[in-house]
């Protein structure tokens, strides 16, 4: 059970006079990220006056605070008192199923990847949609989900020259990671496999502008171009078309 990637005690890194970076483990690792999620929850529940915002990432929490109300030492002591954070019993987790139209105009790198990996596009789609992914963090842009759990057969280095613009709602892979982009065009050095009608971010969907959060599980489901069009029309009205399943662990 012991995972060397987990630190015995957190490593504190100063990020100016208004933030503290708390590093809980090494590298991109599901156990390390789970500890980030658990510490995020535990610290959020403490609701310390003076903590302004907490940003969970792969292996760190960025704790932003008001230095006039709270000192860095206070926060470090608080975290040590909560250490090691544990997930509450009966915790609810979420598993999303995200429909994807693979290849063609939706996934401009699928053919290239098949050549590069000396396989078929069907095989890539099958492997990409068979895996269960973990949302490690949301970052880079609104609702952009970084996913771990990509089939090792699909690990391909990023492009040497990033593209300046890639399509909104792209589903992509880069190195050992996968991603779902929000409905915004963005620069990227990753490989574009397809697009989803799901809007991971939609500020007009005021009750739930963001769908995914760190610790969620996620799968992809291949869909046709026709189904993509139908689902996209539904998404335009504000419907959440990603399927969501909640379960207790």
């Amino acid at each position: 059970m012991a995972n060397d990637a987990l630190y015995a005690v957190p490593r504190f890194r100063r990020s100016g006079d208004t933030a503290l970076t708390v590093e809980v483990g090494d590298g991109i690792d599901a156990d390390v990220n789970a500890r980030v999620v658990d510490l995020d929850r535990a610290l959020t529940e403490r609701a310390l006056p003076g903590i302004v915002e907490i940003v969970p990432t792969y292996r760190t929490l960025l704790v932003c605070f008001d230095p006039v109300m709270l000192s860095r030492r206070d926060i470090e002591a608080e975290i040590m008192a909560l250490w090691p954070p544990v997930a509450p019993k009966g915790q609810v987790r979420r598993r999303w199923t995200v429909p994807v139209a693979y290849g063609g105009d939706n996934g401009m790198d699928l053919d290239w990847l098949a050549q590069r990996l000396d396989t078929t596009t069907d095989e890539i789609v099958a492997r990409h949609s068979a895996a269960e992914y973990r949302v490690y963090m949301i970052g880079f842009m609104p609702g952009f989900a970084y996913l771990g759990g990509l089939d090792a057969a699909l690990h391909v280095d990023r492009r040497p020259e990033p593209r300046l613009v890639t399509p909104p709602c792209s589903v992509s892979i880069g190195g050992q990671q996968a991603a779902v982009a929000p409905p915004l065009a963005s620069p990227s050095g990753w490989h574009m496999l397809g697009r989803t009608p799901v809007r991971s971010y939609d500020p007009r969907r005021t009750h739930e502008p963001f769908l995914f959060r760190a610790g969620d599980l996620l799968r992809f489901r291949p869909i046709s171009v026709a189904e993509f069009a139908a689902l996209e029309r539904a998404a335009e009205t504000g419907a959440i078309i990603a399927e969501r399943e909640e379960f207790k662990v």
């Binding site: 890194r13 100063r14 100016g16 970076t21 915002e53 929490l61 230095p67």
Partner: protein
Amino acid sequence: MSVDLEIVEPGLATTLQDLGRRGFQRFGISASGVMDPIALATANALVGNKLETAALEITLAGPTLTCAGADIRFALAGADFAVAIDGRPVSSHETHDLKAGQRLSIGTARDGARAVLAVSGGFQVAPMLGSVSTHSRSQLGGLDGGALRAGDRLPLAVPGLPARPHLMVSPAHRRRAQGAVRVLLGPQDDAFSAEGIATFFASDYTVTALSDRMGCRLEGPRVQHAGAVGIVSDGTVFGSIQIPGNGQPIILLADRQTTGGYPKIATVISADLPRLAQLRPGERVRFQAIEEDAAIQLARDMRERIRRIDASLVEIQRTAVPTSDHLLACNLIDGVISAFD
């Protein structure tokens, strides 16, 4: 029908900003918000608004504006810009009344880079995710998620002139801070060689023209990494100084990406963030490491300065139509009053 401030010419990068979005960085939403919070507080205090009221942030070259439906009172604070009403120059850093149909032209910045234009009563714009701050990359805030464009109309919350005296910023409070930008080392100073850190603190860096609200890109002696250039991406703050593979520092600003994969050698102290807003392309900066306790004291001092912002303002007497004689008179008054500071 609303009474609107109309954008005749938008200027280089004019955006609606308040203090930005808090609590959404975990969802990839940049805080955004005004680059120079002291300028926002000052401009709002001049026109009698709450200090955090949303206002227009103006960069290097300003907009031309008009309001057909009402007289409005406005003030500019922050960088010193050329300002004119119907072509007649007026002073920055003080309140003026713009009569219905007159044109307000903000020219270029004479010193510094960014000013805030506040209008008495503020604007009637619906917040998105708790703020009206514009973040173009997320298409959030402002009127339609972007910088203001010609023909845009900003509805005024309280059209008309307030019943309060005209005010100006006392000259002592207009000066730009000089000297090195102060930082705390970290969070990833261990990703740099001793030589790299020494270079970083011993060198002048020039602000490049590629700088914007996302980041201030600097050019100068290369800062050497100790080993790998990449880190596992983590969260960023306003003031994080990241060093990509080319060794050229980038100071992350209000519109920065929420996470980044380059090591961050140091972080600008919160009290020096307003100074970053005023850096002009071509200007040189140098960094100085200070102690954490000193940074916190400076943060307290800045908080106190904003809390007591009214103390930096002085009343001015003005006839209905300012004349050059009158402007000279204002300067005389200004000299006398500053003697009491």
